[in-house]
Symmetry: D2
Amino acid sequence: MNYPPSIQKLIDIFSKFPTVGPRTAARFVFYLMRMKKEEVDEILNSISNLKKNVKICSLCFNPFEPASVKTTAGAGEGLCSICSNPSRDKTLLCIVANETDLVALEKIKKYNGLYFILGGTVSTLKKADIEKLRVKELEERLKSHPEIKEIILALNPTTEGEATALYLERVLKPLGKKITRLGRGLPVGGELEYADEETLGSALDGRR
Amino acid sequence: MNYPPSIQKLIDIFSKFPTVGPRTAARFVFYLMRMKKEEVDEILNSISNLKKNVKICSLCFNPFEPASVKTTAGAGEGLCSICSNPSRDKTLLCIVANETDLVALEKIKKYNGLYFILGGTVSTLKKADIEKLRVKELEERLKSHPEIKEIILALNPTTEGEATALYLERVLKPLGKKITRLGRGLPVGGELEYADEETLGSALDGRR
Amino acid sequence: MNYPPSIQKLIDIFSKFPTVGPRTAARFVFYLMRMKKEEVDEILNSISNLKKNVKICSLCFNPFEPASVKTTAGAGEGLCSICSNPSRDKTLLCIVANETDLVALEKIKKYNGLYFILGGTVSTLKKADIEKLRVKELEERLKSHPEIKEIILALNPTTEGEATALYLERVLKPLGKKITRLGRGLPVGGELEYADEETLGSALDGRR
Amino acid sequence: MNYPPSIQKLIDIFSKFPTVGPRTAARFVFYLMRMKKEEVDEILNSISNLKKNVKICSLCFNPFEPASVKTTAGAGEGLCSICSNPSRDKTLLCIVANETDLVALEKIKKYNGLYFILGGTVSTLKKADIEKLRVKELEERLKSHPEIKEIILALNPTTEGEATALYLERVLKPLGKKITRLGRGLPVGGELEYADEETLGSALDGRR
């Protein structure tokens, strides 16, 4: 059985959302169909407001909403609440792949430096792939902000994250700044006996 | 860290979508933010077209798109392609909880009768819960279609599905029609040794 | 690092136990090493008693302990408590792959016939594979027990179980007895929407 | 259905093996029952040889087989191949909970110091629990080996491992040696976004 075209069209669109397959996409569409008109209108408004209201920080590329930052003392034009916060440590720059990684790091309330959202990671060093990342923007930021002393590459310890970190290290090395990576080791709840050799080796090297 | 209000609003909306939690909802929003304006407009159009273009079949409550059914011989007004298909067996009525269950059954191409979408299942027999189901519509359909000889309760063998099936059996019994349920037993790939007692008992009873 | 030979030897032995890998096998050995001498002796005695005390039923190949069956009225020589139980239905023969399948079926207390333990299943119909099964013994049992009216093939609905069931059906067909298989369908807690097509088709065919 | 007593007895014994439940234990017993007598004898011999042939190292409590260490230069009486190896670094002592943790660390070939097997971990600091660990033996070893400069607490970052590490730190502090723990952080393949706050905090603190 085929779905009616208007339903299939929306299933195709939702299937491209992260983590969504065609079955879940179909459930989304039927969920929308059961909604009242006002509820659907609310979704439509929220989506179209998104691009209108939310700006991208010109320094770190974090999305922010100008109106909601206004009250922060010193909020510059086009700067998010982190970049415009005078009490953040401007000598530390943490490079993350995505907005959600930034949120994860802010949640632990241990990091007081600034950020840079790279826009993803790459699995190969093909030019076309690398150009999707904000590498040029990163270089410019580092050149125009000599106060940055340490660059923390907070990329996932996955194959993609590692390849991207190696590439950035090579590109950023000439700038002569300290470059670090997040510590590797056993996660909370992990077991030595079942850890892979690389993780266990890192845990041993990184003992404190 | 808090998200900007326009982002948080949309996260809250997506978090109510089936199977979606706040983390996935946030990824949806960042996915939308990275889209081009034309792509976002396509989503907005597809969602607003949904309610405009898609009708609900007045017999089985299956969504359908009038234009796409037009060519089917005998397509009545307000009837989906299954209900308006003269070659389907009108003596069989299969009751399913949701649209996706109907799609799953159509996919196996073994059932040639008609359907009725109940609109969900209930965990309790509270009046408020039961009124969310299309029980009255079902009774009307059965009364106005005396040609129906067998009612197949194709509800999930879960606690909710069972409670709903028991309730429907009691309500529909006075109509004097044959009422059946999907066979229970071991699924493909299942193992006798790990089957629960009820499933194994059903498999034994239903041996053929 | 290599384990001492006496430890490695036992790890190799335990690694062949069903479901056990080398890591779990190592944990078994260290568990044994921490035991007191009397506890180890108890294990050694229990293992060596197993073959001494436990007999295999000459009819169904179920293991049983003669002393423990003694009290059952009519316990023949070499017969287990099920085969020697006069109140079991001797017209039904349920063929299972393994002892644990028999136990699973007995647990549900719904089956009152007799059993035959085939000794496994086959993935191919190679002669060498088939000869590991008790097919000849099964044919003899059926010929010498004309009171058997129905043969239930209670094999797993897996590829191996299916191949074995098809083979047995072919071999047993000339005997002219009724041959059935356990019903297939949705297991308790299963969901229509996620069922594979074969399972859903069986559930529809087997509706009751 | 009940198993014959000789089978049930062995199921009970195997059910106490680490990671084994009654169902797996039953499979072990049927596996033994299908074995030839010579194979069962081999298991019996291997188990009874275990305690005869394998000694426990008097320094680190690692099991070893005297005959197999003989060829190692300098193999003392009662010492395992690691403790009697003159090229291992005697200033480093790594404390592990179990033999399998020692094996996991040896496998990565990055650690060249010595070990001490504590014999487990504790979830509470109840006297009865702590007395199951080799705390006194550890204190004696440290006092009689002043060359040890660093004690590495290589315990799992689980609740039990943490409680044990905290206890050992308190007990060993008066000895004035450097005490370290394995580094915590993201494991290979881990993702920042899904890391718990403590792991992510450790990864940030331990950046290098």
